[in-house]
Symmetry: D3
Subunit: 239 residues, 6 copies
C-alpha cells in the first residue's frame, strides 16, 4: 500500500521552480515535479490572430511537446513524422485554456503571449507541471509587457496551477509519478485558481468506472495540492 | 431565463436513434439530439494493432469528423488541409476511451472494432451524441462478431452514454444546443455507464472559474440525462 | 444475362432526391441511386479565388469524398492519411467542371459556390449521383443568392445530370451498381445537359479495348438515362 | 481560321522519338510533339504490390510530373508543396491505365514496370505525348525483361498511342498546341490501340456543351492521328 | 590505380554546356559532366520574398531535384512521398548560396531569379554540375533582365563554378564519377569564383579522417578544375 | 576590433559539460558554449535500419532541433509546420556523419545509437556544441552497451569535437557567438578528431569569396580550438 517513493497519499513530490532559466524569453521557468522537468517559455508578440483583430483584446496560446528522450524509451520526433499526435494537441489546448481562464484580455491590449512548454524529462504529471510553470513564465511576461507598453491594469486576474490525482490500489493519491500513473484505476487532472475555484476537471476511468464518492475524494485532494503549488509559485515570483 | 427552444433546464432535446442506417457496416446508427445528427458506423476487422498482438485481447477505437457543411459556416475539409485539427483528435480519443470502458477485451478475441462517427449536422453536443450512438453501433457489431466467431461471452460489460451540461445565465442546464453552448460560462461533458458510474468527466470554465457547488449540480444533472439516454439505447436495440 | 437486381439493360435504379436535407446549407440534397447515397451541400460565400478577383464573375467548385464505411470494407480516412487520393481529386474536379458548364458566371457576380458531395453509402455510380444531386443543391443555392443579392439574371443556363453506362457480359447497360461495375469490360461516365448536349464523356476500357459501335451504343443509353434524371431533378425542385 | 503554326486541321506536329535517351533505365524515350518534350523512363523491378502477390501476374504503373519551368510561367514544385495536385494524379492514373490495356499480366510474371513521364517542356498535349512515348519505353523494358527472365510470351498484346483533338473556332483540329488548347471550346484526349480500338475517350466541354455530331468528328480525327503515331512508334522501335 | 574511365587524376570528364535548351525559361542550360546531365533553368520574377521587400535589392534562390530514374535504381519521387529529403534540401541551399556569392543584389533591383536544377541522369558530381550550369543560366537570365528593365549595372560581379575532388585508393582525383565517389575515402566539393577565390569548401571524411596535407592537395586540384570549367562557361556564353 | 564579449581572437567561450543530465537516456550531456546550451541524449536500441541488417555492423544517427524560444525571436515549431526545414536536416546529417567517423561499426554489433541534440538556448555555434556534446553522450552510451552486451572491443576509435571559426572585421576568430556570426564575412565549421585529423570542413563565404591564406588561418585556429575541446571532453568523461 506504500507509494513507490514513500510519499504520503496526499503529499506532492519536491517542487522546484527556476525562474528566468532562458535568456531570450520575456518570461521563463524550469519547473520540476520530482523527476519531471518542463521548460516553460513565454513569448510576447505584438498583434493577435486574425479573428481577434480590432477587438482591443489580447490572446494567450500554448504549445506543449516532449523531447524524444524525455521518456524511458525514445519516442519518434513529431517534426520528423510530419504531424502532431492527438495527445500533444490535447495537452497544448488544455494548457492554453487553463491560462486564459485567469487573463484579462482587455488589460493586455492587442498582444499575443505564446507559452512553449517543452518536457525535458518525463515522470508523470507533465501537463500539470506545464500549467503550473507556464503561469510563472506568463506572470513575468506580463511584467515585461506592462513596463514596455505602459499598461495600466494587470492582465492577470488570479493565479492558476494544476495537479494530477488518481486512484491507485483503491487509494486516492496526489501527484502520481509515471509508475503510479500507469497502474491507476482512475486518473484525474485538475486545474485550480489561486482563489480555489475550478478551471478544468478532467477525470478518466482507466480501468473500472468510478462512483461519486471516489470523484469527491479526488477533487478534495486536488484542491489541497493546488493550494501548495500556489505557495511555490508565489515564492518563486517573489524571489 | 427561458431556454431558446423552450425546454426545461433538465430536459433533453428529442432523441432519435435509427439503427442499421448503413447497409455495409457490421453495426450502425444515425443518432439525433435535436438538430444534431451523427452517423455512427462500426467496422469489425480481424486482428489488432501491432502492440497488442498475441495477447488474445481485442481493441476498440474511434474516429470522429465533421462534414464541411454540418455547421453554420462551411469549415475546410481536414483531408484537403492535410492534417487533423486538435479538436478532432481530442474527440476521437474521447469516444474511443469511453467505449473501451465498457468492453471486455478478452471476450472479443483478437478483433478490432473501429467506430466512425461522422457529424452530418451540428447543433451542439456532437461528441455526446457520437458516444451515445456509437454504443448502439458497437452493440450490433458485437452481436455480429459473436455469431460469426462463435464467441462464448458478451464483450459488453455495460452500456455507456454521454451528455453535455453547462451553466448558462447562472442556471445549470442539460444538453446544450449550439446557441447555449456558445454563451455557457461552464461547459461539461460527462460519460456515464448504464449502471450510473462515471467514465469521463470533463468540465471547463469558459468564462469565470466555477466552484464546488456548481460542479455538483452539473454532475447531478448529467447523471439524470444519461439515465434517460440509456432508455433510448435499450429501446433502439430491442427494436 | 439477367442483371443482378433484375433490371432491364436500359433501366435506372430507383432515384430519390430529398431536397433541403441539411438545415445550415444554402442548398442541399440527399440523392439516392438505389443503395448509393450521396449528401450534396451547396455553400454560398462572398468573394472569389484570388486569380478571379476583379473580373465581376463568380466561381463554382466541388469537393467529393467518401465516408470510411460507405463501402463494403472500411477505407482509411483521407484526413488521417494526410493526403487526398488520386480518385478523390479526379472526381472532385469532374463534379466541379460539370456544374460550371451550365453556369453563367457573370450573372452570379463575385460569389463562390462550393459543392460538398459526401458519399454516405456506395453501391456504384457515386460520381454520377454526386453530379446529379449537386445540380439540385446548386439550383437552390442560386435561388438563395438571387434573393439575397437581388441578382437580375438566373446564373443557371441549363440543368445537368450524369449517369454511368458499361458493357457487362457483352451487353450495354445503364446505371451500373457496384457488382456490375466491378466486372464491366468497358465503363463510361457521361454528363449531359437538360437540353441533351454532352458536357463530359469519359470512357475506359477496363478489359479489352472497345470499338466505335460499342461506344455509340453506350452514348445512346447514357443520353436516355440522363433524360430521365432531368425529370427527377425537375420534380424535386418543383416540390 | 488558320492554325497558329500553319498546320492543316488534321495534321500532327512534327513527332520525334529518341529511344534509349537514358543510360540506367531498362527502357526510355525522349518524345517530342512539336515543342512538347517528355522524358519517359521504364523501370523493371521484381515483385508486385502487396494486393497482387501470389497471383503470378505482373503490374504496370505510371507517374507523370512537370518540371517547374517546363511551362511559360514557373509552377511551384510539388515536392516543395508537399502534395501532388489533382491534375498530376489524374494524368498519372490515365497513363498507367492506358498502358495496362495492352499488357498481358500473366506473360510478365510477378514483375512491376514503373513508367516515369517527366515533362521537360510543355506546349500542349503533354499527356498524349507521355502515353505515346511511354509505350516505346515499355516495349524496350519488356525486351529487357524477356531476355533476363527468359519469358516465353510477349507481355505486349498490342501497341497504344494517344492524341488530343478539339474544337477551335468551330473547327475540329488534331493535336492542339498550348495556344489552341487554351481557347478550345471542346477538348478531347483519345487513347487508341495499334489495331484501332479505343482504350480511353475523355471529352470535356470547356465552353458550351457539344452535340453528337461534334463528338463524332473529333473521334474520327483522333483515330487518324493515332494511326500516324503508331507508325512513328514502329519506326523508333525498329531503329 | 588507374581510374575506371582511364582519365588522369587531374582530368575532368568531357564537359558540354548546351545553352538555351528550354524555350520558356529566361535562361537555361543542359550541362553534362560525362554521363551526368543536369537541366538548369533560370526564372526571373518581379518582386522579392517578404523579408526583403523595400530594400531595393534582389534575390537569387535555387531548387535541386533528381528525376526518379536518373540513378541506377529508381528512387521514390519526393512529391509522392510528400516531403523533401535532407540531401535535396542541402544541395538546393548550396546551389543558391554559391550563386548569390557572385551577385550584386543592388544592381538586380527587386527581382527574384529562381534556378531549377533537375538531374536527368546521375553519374556523380550532380551538385557541382548544377552550380556550374546554373551560372550560365543565371548569366542569360540577367541579360534578359537588364534589357527588359533597362538596368544600368551588371548584377554579376564574377563567374562561379564547382567541382568535386576526392581521395580514391590514396590518390587525389578530380571530378569523381559515381563509381569513384562511392569508394572515396575523402570527398570534397569546392566552389570557386572565376577569379580563383573560394565560395564554399565542403570536405567530408567518408572513411578515415584526413590530414592537412591531404586537404591541401585536394584544394589545389579543385582550383585547377574550376579554372577549366570557367573556360567552358565563357565559351558557352560567347557562343 | 575588440570582440563583443572581450575575448581574444583565439579564445573559446566558457565550456561546460554536465554529464548524465537526463535520467532515462543511456548517455546524455548538457553542453554549454557560453550562452549556447544544447541537451544531447544518446539512445541505444537493438537492431539496425533495414538496409544494414545482417551485416553484423551497428549504426549511429542524429537528430538536431531547436526549441522555439531558444532564439531571440520565437521560431515556429517544425512539428506544427509539419515539415523539417533545410537547415535542420543539414545539421542533423552533419552531426551523424561526424560521430560515425570515429565509430567502429563492427565492434558495436547490430545496435543503433540515436543522438538527439536539442538546442535549449542559442547564441551561435549550436551545431559545433551539438557535435562536441553528442560525443560525450555517445561515449557513455557505448559504455552502457559494452557492459550490457559484453562487447569485447570499444566501438570508439577516437574522440571528436567541433568548433566554428570565421573572419569578422578582417580578423580570424574562434568560436563565434551569434552577434559575430551574423556579421562574419566567412564562416567555417570544422570537425576534428582527438588525434587532430579532419572529419569535416565546411567553409562558406557569407560576403566576399575568400582566398587560400584566409582559409589556412581559419583551419589553424579551428584545430587549436578543438584541441582544447578534447580536453574538456576528457575531463567530463573522467568525472
Amino acid at each position: 500500500m506504500a507509494r513507490p517513493d514513500g510519499r504520503a497519499p496526499n503529499q506532492l513530490r519536491p517542487v522546484t521552480i527556476t525562474r528566468n532559466w532562458l535568456r531570450h524569453a520575456e518570461g521563463s521557468a524550469l519547473i520540476e515535479f520530482g523527476d519531471t522537468r518542463v521548460l516553460c517559455a513565454a513569448t510576447v508578440e505584438d498583434g493577435v490572430p486574425r479573428w481577434r483583430r480590432g477587438t482591443g483584446e489580447g490572446w494567450v496560446t500554448a504549445e506543449y511537446a516532449m523531447l524524444p528522450r524525455s521518456t524511458d524509451t525514445r519516442g519518434p520526433r513529431e517534426s520528423v513524422k510530419g504531424k502532431i499526435g492527438g495527445r500533444t494537441h490535447e495537452i497544448s489546448r488544455l494548457v492554453g485554456r487553463s491560462l486564459r481562464a485567469v487573463v484579462d484580455f482587455k488589460a493586455m491590449g492587442e498582444h499575443t503571449v505564446t507559452l512553449d512548454c517543452d518536457v525535458l524529462q518525463a515522470d508523470g504529471g507533465t501537463r500539470t507541471a506545464a500549467i503550473t510553470g507556464a503561469y510563472t513564465a506568463l506572470s513575468d511576461a506580463f511584467k515585461h509587457l506592462r513596463k514596455k507598453r505602459n499598461l495600466k491594469n494587470n492582465p492577470l486576474r488570479d493565479s492558476v496551477s494544476a495537479i494530477s490525482v488518481g486512484i491507485v490500489q483503491d487509494q486516492a493519491r496526489l501527484d502520481l509519478n509515471y509508475l503510479e500513473d500507469s497502474v491507476a484505476q482512475t486518473d484525474m487532472n485538475v486545474v485550480v485558481t489561486g482563489s480555489g475555484d475550478f478551471v478544468e476537471v478532467q477525470g478518466t476511468a482507466e480501468g473500472a468506472p468510478f462512483d461519486r464518492a471516489r470523484l469527491d475524494s479526488l477533487l478534495d485532494l486536488a484542491v489541497s495540492g493546488c493550494t501548495e503549488l500556489t505557495e511555490h509559485q508565489k515564492k518563486a515570483l517573489s524571489g
